[in-house]
Amino acid sequence: MNLLRLFRPLRPYRLQVAALVLSTALLTLASLWVPGIIQSVIDDGLGRREPEALTRAALAILAIGALRAVFAFARRYLGEWLVNRTGFDLRNALYDKIQRLHFGYHDQAQTGQLMSRCTEDVSAVSRFIGQGAIDLLNVIMLLIGILFLLVQQSLPLTLIGMLPLIVMTAVTMRLGRIAEPMFLRIDNALGAVSSAVQEYATGVQVVRAFAREADEATRFDKPHRELYDARVTLVGTWGRYMPTFFLLIVASTALVLWFGAVLQLTLGEIVAFNAYLMLLAAPVQDLGFVVSSASEALAGATRIYEVLDAPLVIETQPDAPALPPLSGRVTFEDVSFRYRGAGAALSNISFEAEPNQVIALIGPTGSGKTSLVNLIPRFYDPSQGRVLADGHDIRTVELHSLRRQIGLVLQTSLLFSATIRENIAYGRPEATDDEIFAAARAAQAHDFIRSFPAGYDTEVGERGVTLSGGQRQRIAIARALLTDPRILILDDATSSVDMRTEYLIQKALDTLMQGRTTFVIAQRLSTVRRADLILVLDGGRVVQRGTHAAMVDQPGPYQEIYNLQLKDQEQFQREMLFLDSEEPEAPEAHTEPVPHPKAERPDPTRAEDKPLKPSSVR
C-alpha cells in the first residue's frame, strides 16, 4: 500500500487541499506571532516603560486573534469537509463495486467484513487524509517556525528547553504503538459480547426449552470479563501517560526559567521562550495518535482497495450488443463448471429447452441443480462449454439485457426494507399502480396486502410488518411477474407454510409459469409430472433425462427418487380420489363452514397467514 494511493481520494479536491494547506500555514504564522508580542509587552512596555507598546500589543493580539479565528475556521472546516467528502466518495465507490461484484466473490465474502470496509475503514482513511495528515503538517510547520525563532534568541536555551519535548515525542509514539493492540483487544471483546447477546436472543427458545440459563450467563460473562479487563488496562495505561505529558511540559518550563535566568535573558525573552514551547506541547501530544491513526488508515486503505480492485469477472464485453427480445430457447452445450477452489460442480451438461417448455431439475442436495440454473442469468460463467439464449452465447451480449429477460423466484425470498409497492416494483421502478396490482393479484397476494391498514404502502422489514414465509414468497412471485421475464427460474419448494398458503403459492406459480420457458428446481410431483423435460442430476452430471411418463416405470435414479419422495404424494392423491368416488355426495356435518380457498377474503381481524406475533405490541 503506497502513500500515493492512500491520498488518492483527495485528487478531485486539489483546490480545497491547497486552501487547507494555505490556511494551516497562515494559522501557524499567526500563532507564532503571539509570544513575540508578549515579549514586547514585557521588555518594551514594562521594561522600558513605554505605554504605547502596551496599546500596540493589545491591538496586535486582537488583530491576530481575529486572523487566527478566520484561518482556524478555514482550516477546520476545509479539513472536516474533506473528511466528509472523501468518505462520501469512498462509500459510493464501495457500494457500487460491491453490488456489481460477481456471485463468486460474494460466496467467499462475509457481510460483516464488507460492512466494516464501508464503515470503519472508510472513516479511518478519510479522517486521516482529511485531518490527521494536516495535523502532522501543522506540527512540522510549527516545529520549523518555532525552532527558527528560538535558535535566533538563544541556541543553548533552545536545546535545553526542547529536551523534554523530544522525550515527549518518543513517549507519544510509544503510546500510539502500545495503545493500538489494546484498542484491538477491546474491539474483539466487544464483538464477542455482541455475538453472545445476538446468539442468546436468536436461540432463546432453545435456551429456555432446555433450562440452560445458568450456562448462558457464564457464556456471556466470559467475553464480558475480558472486555472489562481490556478497558481497565487501556484506561490505566492512559492514566500513566497523560500526566507524564504534563510533567514533561512542566519540566520544559522549569528548565527555560532556570537556564534563562542563568543565561541572563531578559524577562520578556524567557516568557516568550516558554510560550513558544507551549505552542508545541498540544500538537506533540496528539502526534502519537496521529501516527497510530496513520497506520490504521494505511491498513484501512489496503482493505478498501482490495474490494475496489477486485476484478468484476462477470462483465459485459466491450461493444457487446444488447440481447434482442427472446423467444425463450435455452441451450447448454457441453457445459462444465467449478467453483473456485472446489471440485467440479457440473460436468458436461448438454440439453436444449424449447420456448415455453418446463424443465424440471431433480436430484439430491449438492447434485448441481442450483449451479445449473445460476449459469443462465450469468451469475457465474461456465469453465467449459457455452450457454446459449436463442442461439446467442450469453457471454457475448450486454449483461443487463440478458438478466432483464430472466425472472427468479427462490425458496428464501429476500425482500427489502421498503413498502410492499416498492418491493413488487423492484425490477421495474417505473411500473404503474395498475401493473403492480395486476401482478399482485396474479400472485395471490393482492388480498392479504389490501388487508393491511396501509395496504401497498405497508413497510416491510424491521421497522414495518413482519410477513410470514408464504406472504414473502407471494410478493417475490409478484415481483418476478411484473418484470414479465421470458425465462423463469424457480424453486417450487414451499417450506413451512400451512396447506392453504401452499395451495395459493402453487396457484401463483402456475400463473407465473404460463407462456415462459421455466426451469424448476422441483420438489413436487405435480411439477415433475407436467415438465416437458426432467433432468435428474447427481454429482454434477445428468444421470437420466426424459418425461415422468417415460421414466417412472423404468428402473433407474428417477424411479428411486420417485419411490422415496414423490410416491407418498401420489398415494395420498389416490386415496383422496378414491374417497371421492366412493362417496360422491356432499360432505356431511362440518363443524363449521369452510371458506373456499379461492374466495380468500380479506379479513384483517383474523390472524390469517400472519405470524403469531401480535403486531400491535412493540
Partner: protein, 611 residues
C-alpha cells in the same frame, strides 16, 4: 383506478427509529437511576476525588510559582530564589502527576465496575424475559441496547463524569487562584464570560439537532449498505445496480454528507470563536494590567508586578481549556441520557412469566397432559389466540396438531412448557398445574425441537450435550447414532469437535435437524414438542429423518406440529385447530371418513395438482 406512476417519492430522510431519540441533556430521573449503579463504588470514587483535588492544587499552583520566580527571582537577578521557585514548580508538576495517576487507576476500575454491573443487569433481566418479548424485540435492537447503549453510558461514567468533574474542579481552582492574585484583574478577564456563554448556548442548541441528524444518517447508510450486501444476488438478478447507486448517492449517502457538513460547519465556527474570545481577554489583561505594572493603576487601583501579569496570561489559557472541554462534553451528556432512557426502558420491561413464590419442583413426569378450558391472548382484551381449548392426552401418545398458520398450534404447544401463561383455564401435567412448579424443573422434562433448529456456535459435541454439559463422549455418540447423525458427524473435519459456526452455518438444514434431534434425545424429556419442518431435504436425509423421528417419539408423550403426511397418519391422535379452537380430533382414518375440515385441508393441498 388511475394509472399513477408507482415510483413513490424516495424518502429524503432516514426512517425514524428509536435510536434517534433526542435525549435531554440532563434528565434527573435517568441520572438518578444511573447514580444507583455508581453508589456501590461511591467510597472509591470519593477517594479518587481527593486525589483529583491534590492534582488540581499542583496544576493551579504552577502559574503562581512562575509569578514568584519572575518577580522575586529573575526580575531581581536572584538566582537562588529563582531556583527555589523553579524547584517548587517542578514539585507541583510531580504532585499533579501522582494525583492524576492514582485518580485514574482508581476511577478506571470503579467506572468499569459500574458499566459491568449495568451490562450484567441487562443480560440477567433478558434471561428472565418471556419469549413473547423476544418475539417483538428485534435481535439487532437488543444487541444495540446491551452493547452500544451501555458503551455510551460508559463514556459518560468513566470518562465524562471524571473529566467533567475535573473541568469543574480546575475551573473553580483557577478562578480562586486568579481572585487571590488580583481580584480586579480577574474580574476584568471574566468580562468576556457573557460572550462565551452566548456562544456556547448558540452552539449547543444547534449541535443538539445536528448530532441527532448525523447519528440517524449513519444508521440509515449502514442499514442500506447491509441490506444491499445481503441482497446482492437479488440486486443483480433484477439489474438494479444503476438505480440503487443513484438512490444511495442522492438520498442515503448524500443525506449523511449534508448532515456531516452541517455539523462540521458548527464546530468550525464554535471552536475558533472560543479562541477569539480568549484573545479578547488576553488583550484586555495585557493592556490594563500592563499599565498597572507601569504605575497607571487606573481602574485596578493598585500596581501589579510583571510576574502577576505573566501568571494571568497563563491562567487565561488554562481557564478556557475546561470551558471548551465542557461544551464538548455536552453532546456526550445528551447521548448518555438518550441511551440511559433506552436501557432503563428495557430493564423496566416486566417479567411476564415469573416463578410463583414457593413454587416447587415438578416430580418426575409420567406424561399425562391436560388442557382444561384454556384461553390465551397475547394482549389483554385482544383477540384470543386460543379459545376455550380442552384436551386430555394419555401418556406415551403422539398428538399431531394440524391447521392453518395462525390457528394457534404454536401457542398451544408453548403453553405446555410455560413459555406463556394461559389467560384463562389451566394446563396440567400429571394433574399438576404448570404454573405451580418451577420453570426449570418443568423445562428439564419437556423437550422442544424447533422447525428451524437453532445451533449454538460451539462444537457439534457441545450442541448435542447442550442440555447435559457433563455428558460423556459415549453418551453423545450414542444419541447421535440413535438419530442417524453419527455417520455424517464422523465425516466432518474434526468429527464431534467440529465448530458449527454461527447458527450452524456449515451444516445443511437436514444435518442441523438431526443434531437437534440428538440434542433432544440426550435431554430425554418425558414430554416432547416438535415443530416439524417441511423444507426440502434430499431423499436420503429425508429417510434418515423419518427413522430418527420415530426413534425420538417412541416412549414419550409427543406433540407434533405436523406437516409430513407420514407423521400425521401415524399419530395416535390428530387435533385439527382453527382460529384458536379444536374443531376436530381423531385418527387419520376417522377424520377422512368424517369429511370435515381435515378432509378439506388435504383435498385443498392436492386438488390443484391431481390432474
Amino acid at each position: 383506478m388511475t394509472a399513477k406512476a408507482a415510483t413513490p417519492a424516495k424518502p429524503k430522510a432516514p426512517p425514524p427509529g428509536d435510536d434517534d431519540i433526542l435525549g435531554k441533556a440532563y434528565d434527573p430521573r435517568i441520572a438518578r437511576r444511573l447514580t444507583a449503579y455508581v453508589r456501590p463504588y461511591a467510597g472509591r470514587i470519593g477517594i479518587a476525588i481527593l486525589w483529583m483535588i491534590a492534582a488540581m492544587l499542583g496544576y493551579i499552583a504552577g502559574p503562581y510559582l512562575i509569578a514568584i520566580a519572575i518577580d522575586e527571582g529573575i526580575a531581581q537577578g536572584d538566582l537562588g530564589r529563582t531556583g527555589q521557585a523553579v524547584l517548587l514548580y517542578l514539585l507541583a508538576g510531580v504532585v499533579f502527576w501522582i494525583g492524576t495517576y492514582v485518580r485514574v487507576q482508581i476511577m478506571a476500575r470503579a467506572g468499569q465496575d459500574v458499566v459491568y454491573d449495568l451490562r450484567r443487569a441487562l443480560f440477567d433481566h433478558m434471561q428472565r424475559l418471556s419469549l413473547g418479548f423476544f418475539g417483538r424485540y428485534a435481535v439487532g435492537r437488543l444487541v444495540s441496547r446491551v452493547v452500544n447503549d451501555v458503551s455510551v453510558v460508559r463514556e459518560m461514567v468513566v470518562w465524562a463524569l471524571v473529566a467533567v468533574a475535573r473541568d469543574f474542579v480546575d475551573l473553580f481552582g483557577i478562578i480562586v487562584a486568579m481572585l487571590l492574585l488580583n481580584w480586579r484583574l480577574s474580574l476584568l478577564s471574566f468580562a468576556v464570560l457573557p460572550l462565551m456563554a452566548i456562544a456556547t448556548e448558540l452552539f449547543r442548541r444547534q449541535a443538539r439537532e445536528s448530532y441527532r441528524r448525523v447519528r440517524s444518517a449513519v444508521g440509515w447508510v449502514n442499514a442500506v449498505l447491509n441490506e444491499n450486501i445481503v441482497g446482492v444476488r437479488v440486486v443483480q438478478s433484477f439489474g438494479r445496480e444503476d438505480y440503487n447507486l443513484g438512490v444511495f448517492k442522492r438520498d442515503v449517502n448524500g443525506n449523511l454528507l449534508r448532515a456531516s457538513n452541517w455539523a462540521s460547519l458548527l464546530v468550525s465556527i464554535f471552536f475558533p470563536s472560543v479562541d477569539l474570545i480568549g484573545s479578547f481577554a488576553l488583550a484586555l489583561v495585557l493592556y490594563i494590567g500592563g499599565r498597572a505594572v507601569l504605575g497607571e493603576t487606573g481602574w485596578l487601583g493598585v500596581t501589579i508586578t510583571p510576574g502577576t501579569l505573566v501568571a494571568f496570561a497563563l491562567y487565561i489559557d488554562r481557564f478556557f481549556n475546561p470551558i471548551r472541554d465542557l461544551s464538548q462534553r455536552y453532546n456526550a451528556l445528551q447521548a448518555t441520557m438518550a441511551s440511559g432512557e433506552r436501557i432503563f426502558e428495557l430493564l423496566d420491561t416486566p417479567v411476564e412469566v415469573p416463578d410463583r413464590p414457593g413454587a416447587r419442583d415438578l416430580p418426575t413426569v409420567v406424561g399425562e397432559v391436560e388442557f382444561d378450558d384454556v384461553s390465551f391472548r397475547y394482549v389483554p382484551d385482544g383477540q384470543p389466540v386460543l379459545d376455550h381449548v380442552n384436551l386430555r392426552v394419555v401418556p406415551g401418545q403422539t398428538i399431531a396438531l394440524v391447521g392453518e398458520t395462525g390457528a394457534g398450534k404454536s401457542t398451544f404447544v408453548k403453553l405446555i412448557s410455560r413459555f406463556y401463561d394461559a389467560s384463562e383455564g389451566a394446563v396440567r401435567i400429571d394433574g399438576v398445574d404448570v404454573r405451580a412448579v418451577t420453570q426449570e424443573s418443568l423445562r428439564r422434562q419437556t423437550g422442544v425441537v424447533l422447525q428451524d433448529p437453532f445451533l449454538f456456535s460451539g462444537s457439534v459435541f457441545s450442541n448435542i450435550a447442550y442440555a447435559h454439559p457433563g455428558a460423556t463422549p459415549e453418551h453423545v455418540q450414542r444419541a447421535a447414532e440413535a438419530v442417524g447423525a453419527h455417520a455424517f458427524i464422523e465425516k466432518l473435519d474434526k468429527g464431534y469437535d467440529t465448530t458449527v459456526g454461527e447458527g450452524g452455518a456449515i451444516l445443511s438444514g437436514g444435518q442441523r435437524q438431526l443434531i437437534s434431534f440428538a440434542r433432544a434425545l440426550l435431554a430425554d424429556p418425558r414430554i416432547l414438542i416438535l415443530d416439524e419442518a417441511t423444507s426440502s431435504i434430499d431423499t436420503q436425509t429425508e429417510r434418515i429423518i423419518q427413522a430418527a423421528l420415530e426413534r425420538l417419539l417412541s416412549g414419550r408423550t409427543a406433540f407434533v406440529i405436523a406437516h409430513r403426511l407420514s407423521t400425521i397418519t401415524r399419530a395416535d391422535l390428530i387435533v385439527v385447530m382453527d382460529r384458536g379452537r379444536i374443531i376436530e380430533q381423531g385418527t387419520h382414518a376417522q377424520l377422512l371418513e368424517r369429511r370435515g375440515r381435515y378432509f378439506d385441508l388435504y383435498t385443498m393441498a392436492f386438488a390443484g395438482h391431481a390432474d
